[in-house]
C-alpha cells in the first residue's frame, strides 16, 4: 500500500520540457517518473466505488505524506462514511522491501499491522490495484514506443511497458500496460492495463491537471478514474483539497500518533 506515493507519482504532472522527438520510451517514462515526485503533500480526497448496477460506496479521507530519506510515510484518516470515521492508517513505503502498514480501528481502540505483498490486490476494495497506485521500479519493465495517439485533443506518446519476467507479471497481475503521455507536458492522460492473458482489463483516465507547484513546475490531476472492462465496475478518485508541503514532523508518522 503506497497511498501517497501513488498520488505523487501518478497524479502529479511532469515539468514542461520541450518535447524531443528522439526520446526513447524508457526516457519518456523515466521523465514522467522522475519529475513527478514531491517531498510532502496534504490532501482530502474521495474514493467512489461503483458496481456494475451503478450502486456506490464512498470513502472520504484526509491524508498527509512526507519523504524521510528513502522512505515515504503516509498518515491517513477516514472522514466518511460515519461507521469507519476515525479509522486511521499509517503506511511506510519502502523502496526495496514490502511496505509496512498499520490500521487503527477506533471502535476497538486497536492498531493492527497489515501484511501486504501482493501488488495486484485491490486498493481499499476499489478497482484500483496497489500496482496502479504506485510508480513501478523502472528495472522491472521493458519499455517500447508505439505510434503517437491523440487523447482528449492532445498528442500523446504511446509507451508500452511489459514485465521483464513472469514472476513480476504475476505479482502485478498484468502482462502489459499502455500509457499515453502527452507530448508537450509529459502528463499521463490514460492507461490501458491488460491481464495475464493480454486481454484488456482496466482503462484508467486522468483529468483536471493543474499546476500545483509553480516553482518546480509540477502538475497534478484532480480526478482519476478506472473502469474494469471485465466486470463493469468503476472507481473514481477525486482530489478535493490539495496542499503542497506538510507541517507534520517524523514523530507524527507513528502508531502512537495514529491512535490519537
Amino acid at each position: 500500500m503506497k497511498n501517497l506515493l501513488i498520488l505523487t507519482g501518478l497524479l502529479l504532472g511532469v515539468m514542461v520540457i520541450n518535447a524531443q522527438s528522439s526520446l526513447t520510451a524508457k526516457q519518456i517514462a523515466e521523465k514522467a517518473k522522475d519529475i513527478s515526485e514531491v517531498d510532502a503533500l496534504e490532501m482530502v480526497s474521495t474514493l467512489t466505488i461503483i458496481d456494475a448496477k451503478g450502486r456506490e460506496r464512498v470513502r472520504k479521507t484526509s491524508s498527509a505524506s512526507k519523504k524521510f530519506g528513502e522512505q515515504t510515510k503516509t498518515l491517513m484518516k477516514f472522514l466518511a462514511p460515519a461507521d469507519v470515521k476515525g479509522t486511521g492508517m499509517l503506511i511506510y513505503d519502502n523502496e526495496e522491501s514490502n511496505d509496512d502498514m498499520w490500521i487503527y480501528m477506533p471502535a476497538l481502540r486497536k492498531t493492527r499491522r497489515i501484511v501486504s505483498s501482493d501488488k495486484s490486490k485491490s486498493f481499499m476494495g476499489s478497482e484500483f490495484a496497489n500496482s496502479d497506485m504506485s510508480i513501478p521500479s523502472m528495472s522491472d519493465f521493458n519499455y517500447t514506443l508505439g505510434k503517437n495517439q491523440v487523447i482528449d485533443g492532445q498528442e500523446c506518446y504511446e509507451v508500452i511497458s511489459t514485465p521483464v519476467n513472469e514472476d513480476i507479471a504475476d505479482e502485478n497481475g498484468s502482462a502489459k500496460r499502455i500509457t499515453y503521455i502527452s507530448v508537450d507536458k509529459f502528463l499521463t492522460l490514460k492507461q490501458l492495463v491488460y491481464d495475464l492473458d493480454e486481454d484488456l482489463w482496466k482503462e484508467m483516465t486522468y483529468s483536471g491537471y493543474y499546476l500545483i507547484d509553480t516553482v518546480n513546475k509540477k502538475y497534478m490531476a484532480k480526478k482519476m478514474e478506472v473502469k474494469n472492462v471485465q466486470n463493469d465496475r468503476r472507481s473514481i478518485m477525486t482530489m478535493d483539497k490539495v496542499q503542497l508541503g506538510s507541517s507534520l514532523t517524523e514523530s507524527h508518522f507513528t502508531t502512537s500518533y495514529l491512535e490519537k
Binding site: D83, V84, A107, I114, S122
Partner: protein, 752 residues
Amino acid sequence: MKLANFIERFKLWIILGSILFSLAIGVAMKDASVDSNLKNFIPKELPSRINTDRMEEIFGASDPVMILLKSDDVLNRETLLRIKRITKSLNRKEEVSKMASLFTSKDIKGIDGAMVVDPAVKKIPRNDEQKEALRNTLKNNTLAYGMIVSENFKYTGIVVTPAKGINDQQLTAVVEAALEEFPGEEEVLYGGVPYIRKFIEQDINKDFGMLMPIALIIMLFFLYFSFREKRGVLLPFSVVILSIIIAMGLIPLIGWKVTMLSVLAPIMMIAIANNYGIHYIARYQELNAKHPNMSMSDIVKNTISHLKAPTLMAGLTTVVGILGLLSHIMKPARQLGVVAALGVVFALLLSMFFIPAFLFYLKKGKPVASFSEDKKSFLSSVLNAIADMVVKAPKAILIITAIVALVAGMGIFKIKVDSDSANMFPADHPVKISTNVINEEFGGSLNINIMVEGDIKDPVIMKAMDKVEQELDGFKGVGDVFSIASALKEMSKAINEPGDAFYNKIPDTREAIAQYLELYSMNGDPEDFEQMVNFDYTQAIVNVRVSDASQETTKAIVAKVNEITEGFKFDNSVGGYLLMQYDLARFIVQGQTNSLIFAVLAIAIMIGIIFRSFWAAFIGSIPLLMADLLLFGTMGYAGIKLDTSTAMLSSIMIGIGVDYTIHFMHRYRHQLSTGHTPAESVKITLNSTGRGIVLNAFSVMIGFCVLFISAFLSLKLFGFLIIFSILSCLLSAIIIIPALAIVFKPKFFNKI
C-alpha cells in the same frame, strides 16, 4: 354398417390422410430441444422457487462444476502442483468467471498482531515437515477445511463457475481439457449441477436412441408370435410408429421441450398404441378361420361394427386415466399427460379407421392354426384352470383378496417420498458417486439459503446470522453453515488475542463491524464476499449445506430454520435447491393423490354410464383400487420411494388397466343374456375374450419392459412397477371380478 361403409368408400383418403397428417406433425421433431434443467420440474409459483430465483438474481446463479481429485494424500507435491496448474489454467479461460481451489481459498489469520489474508495453500511444501505444517494450517482454516479439502485429506475440490452465457457443454469441455493438459495419478470425479444436467441430457438421448429401437423390435416379435401373419405384424406396428411420430412431433409443435419424462411418451405409445389394433387383427383372424365363406369385405365390415364400441370405451378410459396427469404440479408431468393422451387418441382413430381401411385393400389370408378347436394352447389351459378355480371357490378368492388388500394397504403407510435428483441415477453412475463424495467429505451437495435484508452491518442482523449458524451447525444432516458472520468471526480471531473480549465474536457496534470489513478490504479481494453479501450490504445469505437430502431430515432442518427465523424482526426469506425439492416432494404426493382420485372417479363414472349402473361403477373400480393398493403397498414394503417418475404410475396404470375389466364385464354380460348361468358365463368369457385380454396385457407389459435398460434408475423402477401393476389389473379382472359376479350376482349384468 354406416361406419364400415364410410371406411370402405374413403379407404384411400383415410390411409393417405393418416400418413400425411402424422408426417406433417412429425416434421416438427427437427426443432425438438432437450431441457435437462431439473429446476424446471419445479413450478415457478412455488414460494421457495420465487425466493431461490430472487437470490440467484442477486448473488448470481450458483451452478459451478466441482472437480474432485482423490489421492492418498492430496498434500502431495505432485497433486498440489497439478491443482495449482489446473487452477491457473482454468482461471485464464474466458469460459470461466470464478475459481475456487486450495490456491484461491482464503486463510485469514493473525500473525504478530497483523491480520494476514493468504491463499489457503501459499507455497507447495518441499518436505514432510512443511507438509505437516501445511496440514495443521489447513485444519485450522474454517474457510478451507471440509470445504475445499476433505477432513481426511484424501479429496480436494476445484470449483469452476462459468462466465455469463457459457453453456454446460462449453464449460465441461474446457474443464476436461484442462485436466487432460495436466495429467496425474489422482482419480478424478466430476460433479455439480452442470454435470448433472449434462449427464441427464446424454442419458435422455441415449434412452431415445436405445430404448425405442429395442422396444420396437420386441414388439415386432410379440406381434409375429401372436398372429403369425404379415398384416398382423405390420398394421398394428404402423399404428405404433405413426403415434410415436405424432406424440414426439407435438412436443416441439406446442412449444415444449424434451425432458426426462418425455422418454416415457414413445414407450407409452409402443405399449398402448397397438392395444386396439390387436383386437381388430384378432377378430379378423377369428372370422377368417371360423367362416371360410365370408368375403374379405364382409369380414372387415363385421369386425368394424363388432369392435367400435369396446374399442372406443377402452380408448377413452385410457385417455381419461392419462389425463389424470394434468393434476400434477410438475409441468413435465402435465406435458406428458397432454402429449400421451393426444397420442392415444390418434392411435385409437388409426386403429378404428386406418387399419380397417388398409384391410379392405387386402385379400383374405391363410386361416391361422391357433383358432382350430382341437389344439389347446398353454394360454387356454391356464385360463381354463383359472375359470375352474373361480367357479369352485369364489368366496375363498374374495376372502384372500380382502386379506391381500389389507396387508398391502398397511404397506402404504410405510411409503416414503424422494425428491433428491441424485437418486434418479443408479449407484455406479458418475453423478451419484461424485454426489456421495460431496455429501460425505464436503458438507453436502444441496443447499438451503436464508436471505436476510436490511442493514447487514447492524450487529442485530449480524448476530442473528451468527445464531442461525450456531444452531444449525451440528444439526442432523447439516454439513456446513456459512455466512458473512463466520467470515467476520474469523477476522475477529485474526485481529484479537484469545481471551480478548472481541475474540471470536461478532462485535456489538456497527462501527466495529464496518471497521473489520474495512480492514479486510485493505488485504483481501473485493470479490471474496460477493456470494455472501451484496455490494451495498443490504442483503446477505446464510448458506446451509446439507449432506442428507432425505425427506425426513430435510423436514427437520426446514422446521428448525423456520423456528429460528420466526423471531427475526427484519425481512428474511428461505430458498435453495433443497427447499425447492422438499416442496416439490410434498406436491408430488398431493399430485399422486389428486390424479389417483380423479382417474378412479372418472373411470368409475364412465363404467357406470356404459353399464347404466352404480354397482357396475363400484365393481369396475375394484381391480383399479386393488392394483393401487398392491402397487403402493409393495413400494412401501420394498422401500421404493415416490419420486418424479413413480408419481405418475397410477394415472398411467389405471388408464391402461381398466380395459381388461371392461372387456371382461362386456363379454360376461353378453353370455348371461344368451341364457348361461354365471358359472358357465365365466368359463366361456375367460376362454374367448380372456385370450384377447391376456395378450393385450402382455403386449403392454412387454412394451414397458424395455425401461429396465433405461439409464435413469427412476425409469427402471417405473418400468418394474408399471408391469407389476398391469399384472395386478389383469389378475383382478380375470379372477376377482368373476368371483364377485358369481358370489353377488349383481343385477346390472342382466340388463341389456
